[in-house]
Symmetry: C2
Subunit: 526 residues, 2 copies
Amino acid sequence: MSQWKNMDQLEAFAALKQTAKVDLPKVMAGDEGAERVKKYQVPMAENMSYNFAAKAVDDDILAALQKLADEAELVDKFNDLFNGAVINTGEKRMVLHHLTRGQLGEDVIADGVNKREFYLNEQKKIADFANDVHSGKIANEAGEKFTTVVQIGIGGSDLGPRAMYLALENWAKVQGKLKMKAHFISNVDPDDAASVLSSVDVAHSLFIIVSKSGTTLETLTNQSFVMDALEKAGLDTSKHLIAVTSETSPLAHSDAFLKAFFMDDYIGGRYSSTSGVGGAVLSLAFGPEVFAEFLDGAAHEDVLSKEKDLFKNPALMDALIGVYERNVLGYGATAILPYSQALSRFAAHLQQLDMESNGKSVNRYGEKVNYVTGPVIFGEPGTNGQHSFYQLLHQGTDIIPLQFVGYKNNQMHHDVVIQGSTSQQKLSANVAAQIVAFAAGKENENPNKSFDGGRPSSIIIGDSVSPASLGALLAHFENKVMFQGFVWNLNSFDQEGVQLGKILAKKVLAHETDGALKAYSELLNI
Amino acid sequence: MSQWKNMDQLEAFAALKQTAKVDLPKVMAGDEGAERVKKYQVPMAENMSYNFAAKAVDDDILAALQKLADEAELVDKFNDLFNGAVINTGEKRMVLHHLTRGQLGEDVIADGVNKREFYLNEQKKIADFANDVHSGKIANEAGEKFTTVVQIGIGGSDLGPRAMYLALENWAKVQGKLKMKAHFISNVDPDDAASVLSSVDVAHSLFIIVSKSGTTLETLTNQSFVMDALEKAGLDTSKHLIAVTSETSPLAHSDAFLKAFFMDDYIGGRYSSTSGVGGAVLSLAFGPEVFAEFLDGAAHEDVLSKEKDLFKNPALMDALIGVYERNVLGYGATAILPYSQALSRFAAHLQQLDMESNGKSVNRYGEKVNYVTGPVIFGEPGTNGQHSFYQLLHQGTDIIPLQFVGYKNNQMHHDVVIQGSTSQQKLSANVAAQIVAFAAGKENENPNKSFDGGRPSSIIIGDSVSPASLGALLAHFENKVMFQGFVWNLNSFDQEGVQLGKILAKKVLAHETDGALKAYSELLNI
């Protein structure tokens, strides 16, 4: 088993801090810049690549990062993880989301079953169910086909599946694979459920209740909301509800549901898009073959994360450059900037994935760490962001590292030529231009129009947003966040920081408050 | 006229840095905490209030902030602004968005006209047009009523109007005031336009082309996209397109449009929701009376920004606490957390408003400043965010100041009782609980379950999201950002930082590149 140490106990980290800084505007100029673009890239699965030419690194820093990866035994730790070690130390659980899409190592046996087989079996059950819904074999009380699927979940049961659905909805439309339109209800704000219910035809809708524990307050509340609506429409709720939950949850074996699909405690919510949590809604929306392609893309990307060489492991390279920016250069936030409207909510998913995994101050043994950990993550699609917050990214007083994603082709194959170029060409030209503008800058005698440059970015380049490339992209970021958690010696798989708010909210609802909490409750008329 | 000085030249700022820090967990405990909640609030318009009890300030710091506001002449500068001074020094323009909703001072005459009357007249033209569309007097070629409005714009022509539309869409549904459903096209990614066009009935749609200059590449491209679709459907494009632009733009007097409405150079894009940029789409969607209520709410809030006393001027108080957090406490980001699903895109609008206004490194005279300016702004609605990035906010290594918004009532008046409370009560209980959890924390012998507290937040509390309260909320943030720009001695009304990327993108499209830019262009197949 590998050794877990705090980052500041590693010799390689001390050495990394001693490396000379890179003058990014200088190295990105002229032929040297062009060379960097060709040289500083790592192949990804599904014909994608991770290009970090515009990051403030050079061969010396990369060598130091490789040593850090080696001394911290990052790939060994990944091996431990997928072979079933108890990586989630706080909750004493294995971390097995990679098994939902592939077998990277040894068989993992838990609760008396082979976990890969368990996840495959649930996926098969979901595929059969989805096929029966699409064929009309499973239909509503009137024998009519279901046309719509509504996912009810919050956090990991919402953000990932929603981002993936939105990423593929238009692709599916043009491919003739949009089998059912999907909607999502997440917020305990009653206006969320009321709004969705006012826009769907409940008689032809299937509702998926997604909660691992079966006790998530928002989700149970919204389940009741939906059941009310079904009852008012004179419908049998048990013919319209399915569950995705753990086998030990109160939802698992209940007559309230037409069907239940299972995940388990070894799949964290924010890592559950490739489990039944994403599987049910995506298989119903697009068909099980599309979900299978998505899983294959993720599995192909996962295999690269086993490589010890940074230049063969894009997630590891991305992770370590991020650690360098956070802990050596001292940057506090990272912007996620996909140049694809399909990825409109991808940054919102990464916000949870990253900030909930690594937004922590204690190591995996519960000891305070003496260095900063996870950054703030935010982002919007380009070119929209260019007309919004890029001003600060270019000329603000803080430097924010950037993570671009760009594609050679769009999804809908519908384009126009204006001023001699297609919209797709304009989109791609903009992302190329931004990278260089941020890195190289441009002096102007008017300081208000001057750009210092030195603002680092990477770009993932792919052919188009497809089920497989989306799966690979998702796995890339999951594994990046995992490797960063390893470097920082964190447990990236619990979320104790969400508990205190829950406890206090219950006190407010029970009117068991005093002091400031009581005063706020009164102001809010609770 | 008031004196413009860099913040670090002000005695009051030096004094502010000398004030003793507040121990937030301590002062938020017990009766003292309850007292703070009652005492530390500033009334806002439309029955709202700004409560900053959970900010790390006390009477001494507030006194220092008042002195800073006074020495920096912040309210005098606001007076200069609304009386027509050339506040936008870079572009040598007045800044007149307040005149779109009220007259705060003297008549402002420019281009030979009274600007308040000009904006009112455009508003009246829009109202008449909207009424004619709703009555069917203005109809499509077949004489049928238009049912749908599609706004085509980017940045300020998109984010603000879109956020406002989404904030009121469900309110309008239950009030019977949803006259036309609105959609938005912004991104140059062709999938954005293709997706919207695949989901609307173009024969019954009005398209609003919004570009002040009439030269925004994304918007012109998407206009062509839409015209293509109309032509393919055998429709007369000039019967379906209207424009919101400046009188000097190529769109202003063109046969291509059924009608054009005007704004001018004195309204910045990110401050244009109360001009025709927001007015056309919101009046068509909800009726001109609803848009007028929205303007009234903003006007009422603006009046409060004339007060010199921090305790009577919520935007000024909010601005100065933000400056204290940024420049004395050293925090780099601010999260916007509205507990209302209706405000799902409000944070995205504030991201532009704040980061594009104050993400700058030079003062209004083009000289580098020696202090940090605008922070990173991000956010999502609660309770969704609680299940996403709140982990980092509670237990991460950096402190992120928080800006909550909460309401006593929801919009759709459709709720359920589960476990003894309504969803609305649960929603409100959660925001109250979060404020106290962040500020006070809670020790636990297991450090992984321990909360240090000391994480500051404010909350704006209102009755519900209505047109008037939304207008007031928007004006609050606009004026907050303006005051912060004044303290930092910035020009908050230009955006030179977006220019370099545009220039380089044009080079890519013209194939006039070398070095790194050429290499990236090749990778992206441009």
